[in-house]
Symmetry: C2
Subunit: 425 residues, 2 copies
């Protein structure tokens, strides 16, 4: 950390000792996994800086925003529309859920058979080590999977500002109507929190800001079609992860700057790995910071990840919100339409996801798919079986893995991934 | 079996060898668990007969109904309204899901970490041993938990008549509107299947028939308030289970007949176990035929089960549908109101369930609660932790168990239950 933030962390109520330990592990992991990579784009220096300040400068910015009267809203899901948050002059940040913490305390509140992502969100709260959570004026939960839906009932008493958004399970007319009703209810709750009424102009500006951010990350992702790929899967995942934390305008500018560099790399035939390196699409559960286990294994096993069919990836960012609305209600409809396209496995049936995986395999010239499932994540694990079958029927090799945040299965996973990569050569 | 049904089973497409083996195990289990009980009410002879003919005479009745043009609809959940089925001149039956079968085949279609109930429903299909499923003209799935919701996507291709009903996750106005929309859609689907339009009179008659069945089983359950209890938990569970299979009018008559006998027993101070036997309320996941493991353990450990807070129990049957409606739409509203009260753990939040558990503890003078959770059933396992805490805060002893359909944990469960019962003495 480039400044001493201890007073700020203490004011936020963090457990300084535990937090120091977390930052040390995080820093070491980042050094080993990211900074040791070869041929990185120069623009990644921005993300290296962001990550080095992820609990420092970025939190100071949020604290400063709060001091200036702006509200901070934390979320765990891509169904929470940033457009509405920004339009009410508030800031949306993703909340910590990518590492095991305080597991023993967590398992007093949640069944052992709960996915690592949910356990992690509780661990960061119980261990008092997530400055985003502690900065938030409103924490938004959402009824996606059973695990999260029911876990919010136990998270509620641990915080004093949980707001729960209901979500549909079916992409029917009723489902869409529910999503709209819930976005309108969320709009009212955000307006109440901020004291700022959303207007046609503020919502249009917010849609443009978020679209620009999505367009920038999507531009970066699409550049990975090139062979050799100009950026590693690890670095691309990092950009996808920072999408949820960073100031939107700065993120957009920084990503577009990297894209300029990547385009030059492509023109020069310059890549992070040699041409013809086996190309892998990762599909499945989200990978939150600092959950870098799978891409680390894949990219040290002689392959490169060329796409993430994931909430932290194209599933979350590929669609833009229509900007042409001329009324708040019309723009809310556009936001509903945009989010209703997200092909999360909570929906039944969910054929768009398989179509998107197959499209991504073609677009990114992937040689194979690794289906990334978090243990006990029922929606994605259930869906992984027919997805694997459909891919194999289409002659697309698929490796279905199920893991958590521990490092205990590192050896076993490495062996399986190496064997899979060998098969793609 | 009192007749030779082999031709019928063969015509239904059952695997006769596997089915014979299943019936043999079922018969032996029934003999050991039920017929060995002492002081059983004479009226249980009816259920002994029903169970001895559960794949025989009852299936013949369904086959005869089909031959006469009546349609059979199979279901896995108490949210499928029998009133609508009966009003369209069809028959509703619960589908097999209480025993492990063809597990190896099942785990090629579903993750290993799927609850036993869902795996069982697939096992009975893949093993071709459920004559109810094979008799059904329509199989109704429903979006309750993630496990079932996503599993129906894989069940669909195995059958040619799956209908999936969406369900709300929140007891909001929107949630109720969704339930009504789905019941209207179901009504249309059933009418299309049967070719019978539901009328005011047919729906009113159906509501009365189902209410009478619910009132009868509830009458039986309430008689367990007496000490000594006039019926064992095993026998009461069996009646709760047969509720889903039997002809409604015959079930109502038979249960009321047993109730007359039980009332005499109570007047005479006659029970199945001595007075002051520790009394246990079982709360949690449904126990489908032949899942009798927990009550068998409890009632051989020196305690008696006096209530089931379960779909196969009071959660599923205690509420009646208002009979006063004078239009089809008004009666559909009453059916929606009635089912919207079911306090399944799929709802968030679900405070009515805790209130109901505490009410049942008081009403049935239970000394303690055993929370019955099926392994990997996220909604009930998640809810079990705050439920246990609330009960213990209210000085109600609670034992939280998590199990499946295997007998591997029999010893461990017995030890835990015995220790719990000892604590209640």
């Amino acid at each position: 950390m480039s400044e001493d933030y201890k007073q700020m962390w203490s004011d936020l109520g963090l457990d300084l000792g535990a937090h120091d330990a977390l930052l040390e592990v995080l820093g070491q992991g980042y050094q080993q996994i990211f900074l040791s990579q070869k041929n990185r784009p120069e623009g990644m220096a921005y993300f290296d800086f962001v990550m080095s300040e992820v609990h420092g400068l970025r939190i100071k910015e949020l604290v400063d925003e709060k001091a200036a009267g702006r509200k901070i809203i934390g979320s765990y899901c891509v169904f929470v529309p940033e457009e509405i948050v920004l339009a009410a002059n508030a800031t949306l940040v993703g909340l910590c859920s990518g590492a095991d913490f305080a597991t023993e305390d967590v398992e007093r509140l949640l069944p052992r058979n709960t996915c690592a992502l949910i356990k992690s969100s509780f661990g960061f709260k119980l261990g008092k080590v997530c400055p985003y959570l502690e900065s938030a004026d409103m924490i938004v939960g959402e009824n996606t999977c059973d695990g999260k839906k029911k876990a919010y009932e136990s998270l509620g008493p641990l915080v004093d500002n949980l707001y729960v958004m209901d979500l549909p399970q079916v992409k029917s007319e009723n489902g869409k109507a529910l999503l709209k009703a819930e976005y309108l209810r969320f709009q009212a709750a955000v307006e109440k929190l901020t004291g700022v009424a959303i207007t046609k102009d503020s919502l249009k500006a917010a849609i443009r800001t978020v679209n620009a951010k999505r367009a920038a990350i999507h531009r970066l992702l699409l550049l990975r079609k090139a062979d050799p790929t100009p950026i590693s899967g690890l670095d691309a995942l990092l950009a996808n992860q920072v999408f949820f934390y960073d100031n939107p305008a700065r993120f957009t500018e920084s990503v577009n700057k990297i894209c300029d560099e990547l385009e030059k790399r492509i023109d020069n035939g310059q890549g992070v790995f040699p041409a013809k390196t086996p190309r892998i699409l990762v599909s499945g559960c989200p990978q939150a910071v600092p959950n870098w286990k799978l891409p680390m294994i894949v990219e040290t096993a002689g392959a490169v990840i060329v796409g993430e069919e994931s909430c932290v990836g194209e599933r979350g960012t590929r669609n833009l919100t229509d900007e042409s609305g001329e009324t708040v209600d019309g723009m809310i409809d556009a936001i509903v339409d945009r989010h209703f396209k997200v092909d999360c496995a909570i929906f039944t049936p969910n054929p768009d996801r398989l179509a998107h995986i197959q499209q991504m395999v073609a677009d990114y010239k992937a040689d194979g798919v690794i289906h990334y499932g978090l243990q006990f994540c029922q929606p994605y694990l259930m869906e992984s079986i027919p997805v694997e079958k459909a891919l194999e029927d289409a002659q697309i090799p698929c490796l279905r893995i199920e893991t958590d945040y521990s490092m205990e299965d590192l050896g076993q996973l490495t062996t399986r991934v190496e064997a899979f990569v060998e098969q793609l050569k």
